[in-house]
């Protein structure tokens, strides 16, 4: 095995990816490679295609042109999709916890039904990850009994229970009250430190500066700017990105 090759080969590769909704083109010839362990932050104005981009990676949306390869599997059909979903987790803006299940049941469902873990193993794993997001004492409650920040941390733990290689975040703090944003970002920062490959759509520029290896700026379905976080922040190449940063920082 040539280690240099496996290390340099991207875990996610998007080549000339396009996506239409009817006549509207949400993604236009997008190219993006993400290396194993890399943390990428995606930002851009509303409607620029950020969600569509990451939803194509776990095939919640189907791209209609170009190639997407995730963890060695090209996304072409449903069989590939199933394989890929096993290695990709996703955290949603609205948490999307299962309201009729307790926190513990939310976490155990995937490991039990998909990974075939025994009830005890699933439970142990769930408690481990609840511990990691610092919410173990809420295990027997129902989602609605938790604050937004706690619910989002549960959602992160639910993804982690599937032990994915890649975690996608779609504006994980946008639905939260300001005082709860920090606790979620803290968990995400800790995750980033552990070497998880992450793609995070967010407008939290402080977080981006701290953890992002690379920043991606999207506008009107295109990747307008991409580069190391410090670099693009201090010297944005495109006018649109400069404007965008200004708006975000001054709002």
């Amino acid at each position: 095995m040539t280690t240099s090759q496996t290390e340099t080969k991207p875990i996610i590769s998007m080549e000339n990816v396009s996506k239409h909704f009817g006549d509207f083109q949400a993604l236009k010839n997008v190219n993006l490679d993400v290396a194993l362990g890399e943390r990428v932050v995606v930002c851009g104005p509303s409607g620029s295609g950020k969600s569509t981009l990451i939803r194509c990676i776990n095939r919640l949306e189907r791209h209609d042109a170009g190639r997407i390869t995730v963890d060695g599997t090209e996304l072409t059909n449903d069989a590939a999709m199933e394989k890929v979903r096993g290695s990709v987790g996703m955290v949603f803006q609205q948490f999307n916890l299962f309201p009729h299940l307790t926190i513990l049941e939310n976490l155990c469902l995937g490991p039990r039904r998909v990974l075939g873990l025994s009830p005890k193993d699933a439970r142990d794993r769930a408690l481990t990850y609840l511990e990691r997001v610092q919410i173990r004492d809420q295990a027997d409650k129902y989602p609605r009994q938790l604050s937004g920040g706690q619910q989002q941390r549960v959602a992160i733990a639910r993804s982690l229970c599937m032990e994915p290689r890649i975690l996608l975040f779609d504006e994980p703090t946008s639905a939260l009250d300001p005082e709860m944003i920090a606790e979620v970002l803290e968990v995400m920062t800790e995750l980033a430190g552990s070497g998880m490959t992450m793609i995070v759509v967010t407008h939290e520029m402080g977080f981006a500066r701290r953890v992002a290896d690379r920043m991606v700026f999207m506008d009107q379905g295109e990747i307008v700017e991409v580069g190391p976080a410090e670099e693009v922040f201090s010297a944005p190449k495109s006018k649109r990105f400069a404007q965008f940063i200004n708006q975000i920082l001054n709002h």
Partner: protein
């Protein structure tokens, strides 16, 4: 309240017209009255058995018809619409007669009165169950499907563990209504000779010539059954909702 007043007044007038009430036919303190009541009540077991069996079948069939209605594939949706529109258009009474007298002619299979009744009731109700399930499932947001997909649940597990448990909580009141409706519709099976509540009452009327009293008791019998069902559904609702508070 107004209805009760009207009912009371009509009963009073009717009793005036006929000179005297004949409650003796159903007077439990006399041996013949007691026997008559027992005769009438003995139909309850069939009313209950038929309704329960029919509702159980129609819930399952309804769900199986509802799922294709939610498919992305047009063919499946057309199947759903066709089934619902056709089955819903046939009056229950006609369906009962058709199943009992018509089906054997086509298929050679003769169903007993009980199963013919159950089959017709379930078939008729399944179209409504399908619509209830479809609406209930559609009321569950897309985010729940996406969350299930993101942890790799397959379609069956997504339905079984995520979507249906939530949908059923929402449609429970509607399912309760259908059960009440089923109890009432089961009276129609009397026309093919099923010895349920209504048939028993009819037979007693023929023997005793006391329709007012006997049918009044019949009304009360259905009322009691339906109140029991309503209480049961409310209990179930509380139990299922309880864990969400």
């Amino acid at each position: 309240m107004k209805n009760l007043l009207i009912l009371g007044t009509s009963l009073f007038l009717l009793s005036g017209c006929s000179g005297n009430w004949g409650w003796y036919v159903v007077d439990p303190t006399t041996p013949s009255g007691f026997n008559n009541l027992k005769f009438m009540a003995s139909g309850a077991i069939y009313t209950i058995q038929m309704s329960l069996t029919a509702i159980a079948i129609s819930v399952v069939v309804g769900l199986l018809v509802a799922l294709p209605g939610l498919s992305e594939k047009r063919g499946w949706r057309v199947f759903n619409r066709t089934y619902v529109e056709i089955v819903r258009a046939v009056p229950v009474l006609v369906l009962i007669l058709w199943v009992y007298y018509g089906l054997p002619a086509i298929t050679g299979i003769t169903l007993g009165v009980f199963w013919a009744g159950v089959f017709a009731l379930a078939l008729s109700d399944s179209a409504f169950q399908a619509e209830i399930f479809r609406a209930g499932i559609q009321s569950i947001g897309r985010g729940q499907y996406e969350a299930a997909q993101s942890i790799s649940l397959n379609y069956r597990d997504t339905m079984r563990y995520v979507i249906l448990p939530q949908a059923i909580r929402r449609i429970l009141p509607a399912l309760g209504n259908q059960f009440v409706y089923m109890l009432k519709m089961s009276s129609l099976v009397s026309v093919i000779g099923m010895q349920e509540l209504t048939r028993k009452a009819n037979e007693l009327v023929v023997a005793e010539y006391r329709p007012l009293e006997i049918y009044t008791i019949l009304v009360l019998e259905y009322l009691v059954l339906i109140l029991i069902v309503s209480a049961g559904v409310r209990w179930l609702e509380r139990r299922l909702m309880g864990d969400e508070v």
